[in-house]
C-alpha cells in the first residue's frame, strides 16, 4: 500500500477537475441574479439606523409626554394665575380685575364692587362647578372654594388665587402689614411668606397668605376696609372638579388593580411569575403614589386659597403696575425655569428608555452576527 503523495493527489484531482466543463453562462447568471436582488431589495444601512433613531426619538417623546401629563398638575398648581388649566377642564377660567379707583374697570364690575355683592361677571360654566366658581369672591353668593356637589354628584373643587396691591401713607407700611397678617390669622389662615423693606426710602412689603377657601372673601373684605388705597386687585378661580374626580377614579381603579395583582402574587409558583407580577404591583403602586400626591395637592389648593398682598407707600415708584415688557421678561424667566425642570424631571425615564433600546440593539446585533455566520 502506497500513500499517494501531495503531488499525486494534486495532479489526480486537477486532471479530473479539468475534465469538467465549466458552464459558460454561470458567471453571467450570478451577475444577473446579483443585479436582481440588488434592485428587488436594496439594502441600505441607513434605513435600519434611521428607523432605530426614529424609534428612540418617538419613545423618548412619548415618555416625555407621559411624564409631562403626570407632572402637569404640579406645574399648574404652582402657577398662581390659573390661566389655561388642564386639558380636560371644561370650565372657562375666570380671572377678573376688581381694582380700585385708580385702575380701570368695567361698569358692572364697579357696581358689584361698590355694592359689595361680589363678582357677578364670574362664571364657572359647564361642569356643575359654576356656582362655586361664580361665588369665589362673592359676598352673598357661594364662597370661594366651597365644596358644592356638582350636577354629576362630584364634589366641586375650585382653586382660588388672588392678589391685592395696596398703597398706604408713608410710615404706614409696617402697621398695615401687621393688620393684614392678623386678619389672615383671624380668618383661620396663615402667612406662607413675607417680605418688607420698611426702613428704605421707598418702604414696601409683601405677604403671601393661605386662608380657608370659605373665608377668602371675608379676608379680602377686611383688607379692603383697611386705611389703604387699593391699586390693583385680581382673583382667579380654576375649576378642578373634573380633574379631581378623574384622579379619584384613577386611584380607585389602580387600587383595585393592585388588589388583583396581589391576589395573583399569592398564587404564583415560579420565580418568573413572582417577578412579573411583582413588577406590575410596583408599577401600579408607583402610579398610585403619584396620583395620590396630585390629589392631595389639588385638595390642599382648593381647601386653602392663596392671596398675595403687596403694600407700598405713597410716592413709591414701584406702585405702578409692571410694564408689559417686565411682565414678559418675568414670564420668560418662569418658562425657562419650568422647561429646565421638565427636562430634568423627564431625563430619568428617557435615559432608562435609551438604555433599554441600547441593550436591545446590542442583543440584536449579536443575534444578527450569529445569524449571518449561519447564513454564510
Amino acid at each position: 500500500m502506497t500513500t499517494p503523495t501531495e503531488q499525486d493527489l494534486t495532479r489526480l484531482l486537477t486532471e479530473t477537475a479539468s475534465s469538467y466543463d465549466v458552464p459558460e453562462h454561470g458567471p453571467s447568471e450570478v451577475l444577473a441574479a446579483a443585479t436582481r436582488r440588488r434592485s428587488a431589495a436594496p439594502r441600505r444601512r441607513w434605513i435600519p439606523l434611521s428607523a432605530a433613531a426614529a424609534v428612540v426619538v418617538l419613545a423618548a417623546g412619548f415618555a416625555f409626554q407621559v411624564n409631562n401629563y403626570d407632572g402637569n398638575i404640579d406645574r399648574q398648581s404652582a402657577t398662581v394665575s390659573g390661566a389655561g388649566g388642564f386639558a380636560e377642564q371644561s370650565a372657562p377660567q375666570p380671572a377678573q380685575d376688581f381694582s380700585g379707583a385708580q385702575v380701570q374697570k368695567s361698569a358692572p364690575l364697579r357696581a358689584a364692587l361698590d355694592s359689595g355683592s361680589g363678582f357677578t361677571g364670574l362664571s364657572g360654566g359647564g361642569t356643575g362647578a359654576g356656582s362655586a366658581a361664580g361665588g369665589v369672591v362673592g359676598g352673598t353668593a357661594a364662597t370661594a372654594g366651597e365644596t358644592n356637589d356638582g350636577a354629576d354628584g362630584a364634589e366641586a373643587r375650585v382653586v382660588t388665587t388672588g392678589s391685592l396691591a395696596l398703597q398706604v401713607k408713608e410710615k404706614r407700611v409696617g402697621p398695615t402689614l401687621d393688620a393684614v397678617r392678623k386678619a389672615a390669622i383671624a380668618a383661620g389662615g396663615y402667612v406662607a411668606s413675607g417680605t418688607s423693606e420698611e426702613a428704605s426710602d421707598n418702604p414696601s412689603g409683601e405677604l403671601a397668605l393661605r386662608v380657608p377657601a370659605a373665608r377668602y372673601e371675608t379676608l379680602v373684605g377686611q383688607i379692603r376696609r383697611l386705611d389703604a388705597k387699593v391699586l390693583r386687585a385680581e382673583t382667579s378661580a380654576r375649576d378642578v372638579t373634573a380633574q379631581f374626580s378623574d384622579l379619584e377614579t384613577q386611584l380607585r381603579t389602580l387600587r383595585a388593580a393592585r388588589e388583583r395583582f396581589l391576589v395573583l402574587l399569592s398564587r404564583t409558583r415560579t420565580v418568573g411569575e413572582v417577578l412579573s407580577v411583582q413588577q406590575r404591583v410596583d408599577e401600579v403602586s408607583g402610579r398610585i403614589d403619584r396620583l395620590e400626591g396630585q390629589r392631595k395637592l389639588l385638595a390642599n389648593q382648593s381647601d386653602l386659597s392663596s392671596l398675595t398682598v403687596s403694600i407700598t407707600a405713597e410716592g413709591d415708584p414701584v406702585t405702578s403696575q409692571r410694564s408689559g415688557l417686565s411682565q414678559a421678561l418675568g414670564d420668560a424667566k418662569n418658562g425657562f425655569v419650568s422647561g429646565v425642570e421638565g427636562l430634568i424631571r423627564n431625563s430619568g425615564r428617557a435615559l432608562l428608555l435609551v438604555l433599554c433600546l441600547a441593550v436591545a440593539f446590542a442583543v440584536g446585533r449579536v443575534l444578527w452576527r450569529v445569524a449571518r455566520r449561519r447564513l454564510v
Partner: protein, 181 residues
Amino acid sequence: MDDLEQWLARDYARAYRTARLVLRNAADAEDAVQEAFLRVWRFRDAIPADAGRNAWLYRVVVNACVSSLRAQRSHTGRDDGADALEGLADRGPEPELLAEQEALAAVVEAALAELPEHLRIPLILRFYSGLSEAEIATAIDRRPGTVKSRLYDARQRLAQDPRLAAWVNADTTNDALEASS
C-alpha cells in the same frame, strides 16, 4: 458590480469544479456555486477582515454542497452518466486522450465517493482548490488541527484503493521512463 465580475472571472471555474468534485453532479454544482457567490457578495462587508473572501466562498460552497448531498440522499440519485455522456459529446477531437482522461476521472471519482464527506471535502479543498489548512479550517468551520488529521486520514483511505494506486504507480513509471529516455 465590476468587482463581482472580476471575482467571477477569476474564481468561478475553480469554485465550480470544486463543487463538481464534491457533488459529482453538474447541475447541483452550478446551483451551489451560484448561491455561494451571491451570498458571499451580499455579505461581503460582514466578512471578517482577517479571513479571505475565498475562504468564505469555499465555506459557503461547502455548506451548499453538503446541503445538496443531503438532498440527493433523500431524493433522486446522481446523473453522473448523463453528465459523462454530455461531456464526451462536447469534447474536442482527441478521443484517446479524452478517453484516458475520462477513465482517470472515473477512478478518482470512485475513490472520492468511497471517502466520507468529512474527509472528502478537506481533501478536495487542499489538493484541488489549493486552500491552506487554515483556510480549510475557516471553510469547514473546524480547527486547523482537525483539518490536518482529516487530510491524513483521507490519504490513508485513498492508499487502500487499488485502482487509484495503479494510476499513481503507472504515472510514476511513465514519468520515470520519460525521464530516463
